[in-house]
Symmetry: C2
Subunit: 195 residues, 2 copies
Amino acid sequence: MARVQFDREQVIQDCTQLFWQKGFSGASMQNVVQATGLKPGSLYLAFGSKEGLYQAALEHYAGQSQAALCQILEAAPSVGAGICQHLRRMIEASEKAGYCSCFLVKSQLELAATGGDLHRRVCAYLTEIEDLYAQYLERDYPQDQARQYATSVMMHVFGIRVYGYLERDRDTLLAAVKGGLPWLPWDSCDQAAGS
Amino acid sequence: MARVQFDREQVIQDCTQLFWQKGFSGASMQNVVQATGLKPGSLYLAFGSKEGLYQAALEHYAGQSQAALCQILEAAPSVGAGICQHLRRMIEASEKAGYCSCFLVKSQLELAATGGDLHRRVCAYLTEIEDLYAQYLERDYPQDQARQYATSVMMHVFGIRVYGYLERDRDTLLAAVKGGLPWLPWDSCDQAAGS
DNA sequence: GGTTAATTTGAACATTCATTCAAGCAGAAG
DNA sequence: CTTCTGCTTGAATGAATGTTCAAATTAACC
């Protein structure tokens, strides 16, 4: 073997942050080299190409997102309350400096025109998340209703992810989401998560 | 004077389409040269830089969008019915091949991280559109309610603009929007616009 | 018709891009 | 200790990037 292999997980994490912020075209391999501390050769041996690197970042982000969603929905007193809490946190996140929307959403919009493999993966990840919502909602609603609600939730998630850049105060955003998803138990969320 | 000045409007239109599809980083000046048929020198004399060109494209698109919105809202039997019709068309547009979301939304996500002048303009244009919705809604609702509704509409517009890429059938999308904006007169829209 | 001024031209610019590869190096195997 | 193996190194690659500018072109004016 050679010296010491670099920490693959750490490199992917660094790349995720970089691509998330700057996008695929906006981030150069030089940026990647700086962000990871690795030399080009190592990166290309390990990931093959810039696209391979981006792919790894996407996978990392999607896995993390799904895990976080499952965790919050499992821990909540009910699926509905968990969704409320999740949306609430999303809105709060959009107020922080350096807000970066959602990596999957940004990738979706940037890569759709290419019609390449990356875009197909992004669609798949987003669909998985929608399916996750639907599955959880099926605990409390009939299947049709659950799917319908899942679509509604996704639509609002996308809305928050874009609207978040406009720097409105959180109450405006929250009111809009509450109005759009009136079937969610917002009161229970107010109690559980505070305000 | 010189030969014949190129058709500025046409050039901006071509650029809009190009940038809309490929994004700021994704579109090269070489692409612009090909799309417009002009030589680099002419472009730089007329627009100063790639950023200047993008700016012109943004202005063109924003103006067009606002005009189209006003037109549809003025022509509709009521503001609410007009919004229904507009959202309906947006959903239908997302089904067409080569769907490109919304130029302002895409710009918002791509340019936010730069924090530059372009991003500030995009925010301004989006805010103008939201204000437009609010002003029209004030015809039928008290001011607070109107602003609230305008935010909700924007949120759904953003949702459609992202969700549109997932290639769901139009009924799924429409049902989600109807569920999220239940105060809109969807029935009148069904009659007016057909289905 | 000759002069002027505005506009287009397109090759050339330095820089940055994604990517490659021969050389260097550290641990494992004998 | 020597050999082998495979990861790391980082300068170098050619192509593509955004931008410039001197020369060419053309319409308007006297």
